[in-house]
Amino acid sequence: MPGEPRARAATGPRWGPSVPATVAVAGAAAVLAAAWAIDLVHAVDRSALPHVGGWWAYPPVVSGAVMALLTLGALPPGASPRRTGLLGICALLTTSLVSLAYHLAPGDTPGHPDGLAEVLAMVGAVSLIAYRCRPWVVAVAAALTLAAPLLSETLRAGRPADLDAALVLLFLLAPGLYLRWRVERRRWQVERVRQEERDTLARDLHDVVAHHVTGIVVQAQALRYVDDPHLARAALPDIERAGLDALEAMQRLVTALRGGHPVSADLPDAAEGLRALCRPGGGSRARVEVRITGDPGLLPREVASAVVRMAQEALTNADRHAHGAGLITVVLDVTAGRARLEVRDDGRGGPVGPGSGGYGLVGMAERAALLGGSLDAGPAPEGTGWRVVAVLPTGRAPVAGRSGG
């Protein structure tokens, strides 16, 4: 369908994988071709030497070409594990077959001289297999890689070869396996992030959208049932606000689903978020009391969210560091133009400075500063305990779409 720029824009860059793939294959082809050319020149030189035996200088050139082509066939990023495995194993078998051919050659023929193209193709094939194929294919490739130098040495010299070269070749598996690990780890991380995002969305739908819509539905049902025009009129502002809040939450969800900024699971309502922190004392934990003055419903979303986060952080700090605290009070005071959050405990929080317990404080201070506010933490001026005070300006434009107050 023509003219759908928004949907298109949300899907990210259209720079497909074909360009880097082409570059990679072309580059590898160029390098292999150069190596093969060097092999050819060497072979021509060698063929003139009396003890090499004329045509016996050329098999590595042939196998180098075959192996290079097989490896290039397995190289494109889109190649399936099956194709990679098949072509890669064929490439590895080729060099062993050449070694065997030398072994069966007339007595005075020297052994299998490794070609540069052969070695490079081998490196490529082994790496690709280690990167893409199933474990048993990787094992076969490893065995063939190990066998190649052993075979050529043993067959040539008639004695067991040194393990050095074999081990070096075996090490070729490492880059492929490393890349594979990276990819797997990345996939796992991506999956985890996605799951978190989905959870967040579900939570937002349940806690925010469904919450408001339920309120609207229940009110409508009740008001129809009691059929009292005065009650109905009185309920309209609440219903309107709940509808607007639900819309706003849905807008955030839609934005998130389109790939925009991730949604924040924060409930926009500071009062609700703070009240959720209330808890009775018990065990080693102090009781938490929350007091709110003013109307937190007037706070801009980011301030409301910051207030709740800071209170949570301060509580965590108090739990961790305020020894012997029996009561933690959280006080939010909303007045025209600013919100003041105070969290204090009655414990012995003395030794806790920004050095030891300050990790959370740093975050809180940063959050406050970002919003143009300030954060102050220290021993309470009177009495015992630790006190955290955050003052945030709320002077920015009130939340759009809110009528009344």
């Binding site: 539905v217 229940v218 009740a222």
Partner: protein, 221 residues
């Protein structure tokens, strides 16, 4: 004498809506409202309403914690509690049942079902909102069932007589005592006697626990 009700929900709109509906009934009186779990617990213990309608998710103490303290295992004189949920997929059904909830009602169920749920919980002779409760129990049984499809054979009927099992089946299908009496050609008194025996044998505190047991053990499919 009217049925006294406590409403606990952190959403004011839901509370007032429920109150309008319930107050319009001649036989129901809303005696208290609570905006969080702690308040709900305090008010319920103080006022001992006939029925408490508790939101499952509340700040402070959750509805589950409150129901545990009001009617959970070991509570001496349990109160009747109906859990109020936003969706009928809430994952807390099991917990609520184990903690002695009498049943579930959807917030959006509408006035008729809400009122009926309160009355059923107060009387105790029918499942609370049978449609949603039965659906929840079925799903619960399925999610715990061994494999899919295979119907479980009731292995342990805890010494229930065939007639008592008939009654259990009818309870699990959401029938009232009167309807059970009708279906099984029994007197209402006999149905009640059977139910008392069943409750003793299953150690079930209320009707919904009998139904839950029936679904879990494949007594009904």
């Amino acid at each position: 004498m009217s049925i006294t009700v406590l409403l606990a929900d952190d959403q004011r709109m839901v509370r007032t809506g429920f109150r309008y509906i319930l107050q319009a009934q001649p036989d129901i009186e809303v005696v208290a409202e609570a905006a969080d779990g702690g308040e709900a617990l305090r008010l319920a213990q103080e006022l001992r309403p006939d029925v408490s309608l508790l939101d499952i998710r509340m700040p402070g103490l959750s509805g589950l914690e409150v129901v545990r303290r009001l009617s959970g295992p070991g509570v001496a004189d349990p109160l009747r509690v109906v859990m109020v949920t936003t969706f009928d997929i809430d994952e807390y059904v099991d917990d609520a049942l184990e903690n002695g909830a009498s049943g579930f009602v959807l917030k959006s169920a509408g006035p008729a079902l809400l009122v009926e749920a309160v009355r059923a919980a107060a009387r105790g002779d029918a499942l609370v909102s049978p449609a949603i409760t039965v659906r929840l129990l079925e799903r619960l049984a399925r999610s715990r069932g061994p494999g899919s499809g295979g119907r479980r054979v009731a292995s342990d009927t805890r010494g229930l007589t065939p007639r008592e099992l008939d009654v259990v089946r009818a309870v699990a299908q959401g029938l009232t005592n009167a309807e059970i009496a009708d279906r099984l050609y029994l007197s209402l008194g006999t149905v009640k006697r059977h139910l008392t025996n069943v409750q003793t044998k299953l150690r079930a505190r209320n009707r919904v626990e009998i139904a839950a047991w029936a679904y879990r053990n494949g007594i009904v499919e």
